[in-house]
């Protein structure tokens, strides 16, 4: 029964990890950028929701209507100011730039909010539903529903819209996409905006379910990168499967063995998978043969 509970918890938490990882892998797929700042941006989203709920008494889920557009705009700005001017060695240089952005955001958040752990509060955070002997915390259920809704929206956007067609064209072949008249810069800027907006949405959930401070970003980004590498860089469905898989494994190990080892298994699985399959579970492009 404990294991069944652990699996359910893993799936529910995996839902919003999938959301944040989808943003990361989408950005990589379109413009070969490893957004190392995703973790810091998740924490930024969490702090924004926290500030809105503390000072203006706005419900965390409603605060998304403000935080997601705001962080998306930040993403568009980051693209035009920092990413677009990079001329050579884009993959490595953009990773370093995003690493610097992550540090900058962490420093600013730590300066503004101090390093005390905080948590976003709402009336339903501690409620839960019972089904037999299984426990479903309300916040995780809502968050899971939100994640599924946003991922469905993302799917529609990518596969059923005109913008999505431009996006997929830019993903497959940026040069050819430019030749047929797609403004790949605009597509890239918007994609980075979407990816970072998803981070902020994930951040709200992270902030309601965890006590956090600015330094939480490192833990987050390393988990997200593990998920994205496992799923194969640029593969959204891979990221979804990897997120659910990793969180379930972590929670089961935490129950069977001990919580402190749950997180270590997370990374150990990564190492084992990469030894056997360097391109990740669902990797489309062979990383070794670039």
């Amino acid at each position: 029964m404990l294991i069944a509970q652990a699996i359910i918890d893993g799936i529910l938490v995996g839902g919003f990890y999938a959301l944040m990882a989808a943003g990361l892998t989408l950005v990589f797929g379109v413009m070969d950028i490893v957004n190392f700042a995703q973790g810091a941006l998740v924490v930024l989203g969490a702090y924004l929701s926290y500030a809105l709920s503390v000072h203006l008494n706005i419900d965390p889920f409603l605060s998304l209507l403000i935080t997601v557009p705001a962080t998306s705009l930040l993403g568009v700005a980051i693209y035009w100011v920092l990413i677009k001017p990079i001329k050579r060695d884009r993959v490595v240089m953009s990773l370093l730039v995003m690493f610097a952005v992550a540090t900058l955001i962490e420093g600013i958040l730590d300066w503004v909010f101090k390093s005390n752990l905080v948590q976003v509060h709402a009336s339903y955070v501690n409620k839960s539903f019972q089904l037999g002997r299984l426990n479903f915390p309300a916040i995780y259920l809502y968050a899971f529903a939100l994640s599924v809704g946003l991922l469905a929206l993302l799917y529609t956007l990518i596969y059923r819209s005109r913008f999505g067609r431009s996006l997929r064209a830019s993903m497959q072949n940026p040069v050819a996409a430019r030749m047929v008249g797609i403004n790949t810069d605009r597509v890239s800027a918007i994609t980075l905006g979407i990816g970072i907006g998803l981070a902020a949405a994930g951040g709200m959930v992270f902030g309601t379910t965890n006590a956090f401070n600015a330094a939480s970003s490192y833990d987050l980004i390393s988990r997200l990168l593990v998920i994205v590498i496992l799923g194969g860089f640029g593969s959204i469905s891979g990221a979804l499967v990897a997120a659910l898989l990793m969180l379930v494994i972590q929670d089961v190990v935490a129950v069977v063995w001990s919580p402190v080892w749950g997180q270590t298994t997370f990374y150990l699985v990564l190492v084992v998978v990469l030894l056997l399959r360097p391109q990740g579970l669902f990797g489309r492009r062979a990383v070794r043969a670039q």
Partner: protein, 370 residues
């Protein structure tokens, strides 16, 4: 990959005629070494000498890091891993063998370096199976594995309680100086190693890997072995830096031993000075390592230097992606070329002077890839 990647596949080694005169180079080198040696004798204030100790630790670590990342082009953002291994080796050895923390402490330096170097072999063998961004991401992940292990293996590392190192036995009147000089000595060894690597066939293999790994391999460079050896050498020096840092601070904690901001510090210093050059990263370490400690002492909180680091790194990558040393070298070459064109004795007609596009092309193609 995109077409932009082609532009960085250029050789860095410039024709000898473009280099600064030998006397100028050796003179400035001697001057810098002399200044570093007399520094703690002139500034005896403990606050200032402690800044000097941190600068030496960074100088040692960055010079080691550059041997692998600078020459091979594989940016490792997880070398705090070896910094932490060095620190924990030092702490465990002193507590296990009851070393009285006198001058013997420094005998542990090579031992801690060797432990870090040995640890680097299996880690590097695993990491170097992948390239580019996946490699960078994996180095960070492996560093976090070790941080978690340090937290979780309580019987060995003391977990989040950390470990204490014995207090040095020498007089508090000159507490910092021994650390400073041992750091300077180790850094000098690291720089000489770096210089030797740069001139050796082994180093040429590393540079070939940076420029085009597949072609290097097809030309007979044993790429895997070359990368792994460089990785281990860099780990030795970063580990040794940890073994100076730990007794200087007096304690070891998982989150400070395996600290992601240390990874960033190395990268910022190397990029500021000029990645893959011999003295560039050293210069970056001296300038930024001192600045960082100054900010820490001046403003207290760690968040201020996170902001400073972040801003500085963004600016450097944005405005000076080649770093200080290659930029100055490029300016010098530009000037030499310009002077050669404008001196009538060389036989070049003066009317060729308006052709200023040429030296600029030279500038664009120098400095190597990041």
């Amino acid at each position: 990959m995109s077409a932009t990647d082609v532009s960085n596949r250029t050789a860095t080694d410039s024709p000898a005629s473009y280099d600064l005169p030998r006397t100028v180079r050796f003179g400035s080198l001697l001057l810098v070494v002399a200044a570093l040696v007399v520094f703690p004798l002139v500034f005896t204030n403990p606050t200032i000498t402690s800044v000097g100790v941190f600068a030496m630790i960074y100088l040692l670590a960055v010079s080691g890091w550059n041997i692998f990342s600078g020459y091979s082009g594989y940016i490792a953002l997880g070398h705090a891993l070896f910094f932490g291994i060095g620190q924990y080796s030092s702490a465990m050895l002193t507590s296990r063998f009851k070393i009285p923390a006198g001058w013997d402490l420094f005998a542990l330096l090579p031992v801690a370096g060797a432990i870090a170097g040995l640890a680097a072999v299996p880690i590097g063998w695993m990491l170097l199976r992948v390239r580019k961004h996946t490699f960078i991401v994996l180095t960070i992940a492996v560093m976090f594995i070790f941080q978690l292990l340090a937290f979780n293996l309580r019987s060995w590392t003391g977990g989040s309680q950390g470990m204490q190192l014995p207090f040095p036995t020498w007089s508090g009147a000159y507490f910092n100086e021994p650390f400073y000089y041992i750091g300077l000595l180790a850094a000098a060894i690291a720089l000489v190693t770096s210089w030797w690597v740069r001139r050796s066939k082994f180093g040429l293999g590393l540079l070939a890997i940076r420029d085009d790994e597949d072609r290097a391999r097809s030309l007979g460079v044993r790429t895997t072995r070359t990368k792994l050896v460089a990785f281990a050498i860099s780990a030795v020096f970063v580990g040794a830096a940890g073994a100076i840092y730990a007794p200087f601070i007096g304690s070891v904690f998982p989150q400070f031993a395996f600290d992601p901001s240390f990874d960033l510090a190395l990268a910022v210093m190397a990029f500021t000075g000029g990645l893959g050059t011999l003295i560039g990263p050293a210069l970056g370490a001296l300038v930024i390592g001192s600045l960082q400690q100054y900010f820490l002492l001046q403003f207290g909180g760690a968040n201020v230097f996170l902001i400073v680091y972040g801003l500085l790194f963004v600016l450097i990558l944005r405005l000076l992606p080649q770093g200080i040393v290659p930029s100055i070298a490029a300016r010098w070459r530009q000037w030499v070329t310009y002077r050669a064109r404008n001196t009538p004795s060389t036989g070049v007609p003066p009317d060729s002077a308006p052709d200023v596009g040429r030296p600029f092309d030279v500038v664009l193609n120098q400095g190597g890839s990041a």
